[in-house]
C-alpha cells in the first residue's frame, strides 16, 4: 500500500482542486489521440476521430474525458485505498475493453501535461514529484488485475 505524508495529501488535493473536470476532461482524450494516434484502436465506436479537427470536437471523447477524471476524483478522495477501489476498473479494462496497460502510463503523461498548461509555475518541481507519485499509484492500480 502506498504511504502518503500529510504534506503529500495537501499537495495532491491542492492540484486537484484547480482541475475543472469539464474543462480538462474535454481536452484530455484529444491530446492523447493526437500525440499517441495508435490508441484509436480502442475507439472504433466513437465516430470520426481521424483528423485533428474531428478529434477536437468529438463529443464522445469529451464525455469520456469527464468519466476518466471523475474516476481520478475518486482516487484523490480515497488515496489510501486506490488499489482496492480500482480493482473492478482494472479488471474491466483487461477483460472487457482489452487495453494494453502501457496506455495507462501514456494517458497519465497527457494528464500531467494538460494540468501543467493550466497550473503553470504552481506545478513546481516538488508539486510535480508528488503529483507523479499519485499518478504512478493510480497507474499501478489500473495494472493490478492484469494477470
Amino acid at each position: 500500500m502506498v504511504k502518503w505524508t500529510e504534506e503529500e495529501r495537501r499537495i495532491i488535493r491542492g492540484v486537484w482542486e484547480k482541475v475543472d473536470i469539464d474543462e480538462i476532461g474535454e481536452e484530455l482524450w484529444a491530446r492523447a489521440l493526437i500525440v499517441y494516434p495508435w490508441i484509436d484502436r480502442y475507439f472504433g465506436s466513437f465516430g470520426d476521430i481521424f483528423t485533428t479537427t474531428a478529434i477536437l470536437k468529438n463529443p464522445k471523447l469529451a464525455a469520456l474525458g469527464k468519466v476518466v477524471l471523475s474516476a481520478l476524483d475518486t482516487a484523490v478522495k480515497n488515496m489510501d485505498n486506490v488499489k482496492a477501489m480500482y480493482a473492478p476498473l482494472s479488471r474491466q479494462h483487461y477483460e472487457k475493453i482489452k487495453v494494453d496497460p502501457d496506455n495507462f502510463r501514456l494517458l497519465a503523461e497527457c494528464i500531467t501535461i494538460t494540468i501543467a498548461c493550466k497550473l503553470r509555475a504552481e506545478l513546481n518541481p516538488q508539486v510535480q514529484a508528488t503529483w507523479q507519485k499519485f499518478l504512478s499509484a493510480v497507474v499501478e492500480a489500473m495494472n493490478s488485475q492484469y494477470k
Binding site: 493526437i34 501535461i113 506545478l123 518541481p125 516538488q126
Partner: protein, 145 residues
C-alpha cells in the same frame, strides 16, 4: 518505436523553436531541476555536483548545455544521426548515460514547454516535439553498441 519525422513535424518544430529559443537556458534549467526532483534515480549521474537542488548553479549551467544540444539538433533536423555524431560518441563512451534517461528528460522538457508556453503548446506541437526529442534520443544512442 522508430518513427521518422515528417516534413510537417520538422516545420512545426522549427517554427515552435523560433518562438522559444530565447528561453532556451531557462527551459533547460527548469527541465533538469524537475528531472532531478521527480526522478531521483537520475541524480546518480551528478554526484560530482556540490548542489543538485532546483535552480542551483550547476543545474542552470548544465541545463544551458543540454538546450544548446537541442538547438544544434533543430539546426541539423534533416540528418540527426550525422549531425549529432560527436554528441553521440560523448554519451556512449564518456558519459555512458543509460538511454532510458533520455525519455525521462524529454518528458520533463515537454512539461516545462507546457508550463511556459501553454497556448503555443497545442496537441499538434506536443506530438511534433515529442517525436523530435525521441529522434534526438535515438541519434544520441547510435554509438552505444
Amino acid at each position: 518505436m522508430t518513427m521518422s519525422l515528417s516534413a510537417k513535424d520538422k516545420a512545426t518544430v522549427k517554427a515552435f523553436w523560433a518562438k522559444i529559443s530565447s528561453s532556451g537556458e531557462a527551459i533547460g534549467a527548469d527541465a533538469l531541476s524537475r528531472m532531478l526532483v521527480v526522478y531521483p534515480q537520475t541524480k546518480t549521474y551528478f554526484s560530482h555536483w556540490k548542489d543538485m537542488s532546483p535552480g542551483s548553479a550547476p543545474v542552470k549551467k548544465h541545463g544551458a548545455t543540454v538546450m544548446g544540444g537541442v538547438a544544434e539538433a533543430v539546426a541539423k533536423i534533416d540528418d540527426l544521426t550525422a549531425g549529432l555524431l560527436s554528441l553521440s560518441e560523448l554519451h556512449a563512451f564518456t558519459l555512458r548515460v543509460d538511454p532510458a534517461n533520455f525519455k525521462i528528460l524529454s518528458h520533463n522538457i515537454l512539461v516545462v514547454l507546457a508550463i511556459m508556453f501553454p497556448t503555443d503548446f497545442t496537441p499538434e506541437v506536443h506530438v511534433a516535439m515529442d517525436k523530435f526529442l525521441a529522434a534526438v534520443a535515438r541519434a544520441l544512442s547510435e554509438k552505444y553498441r
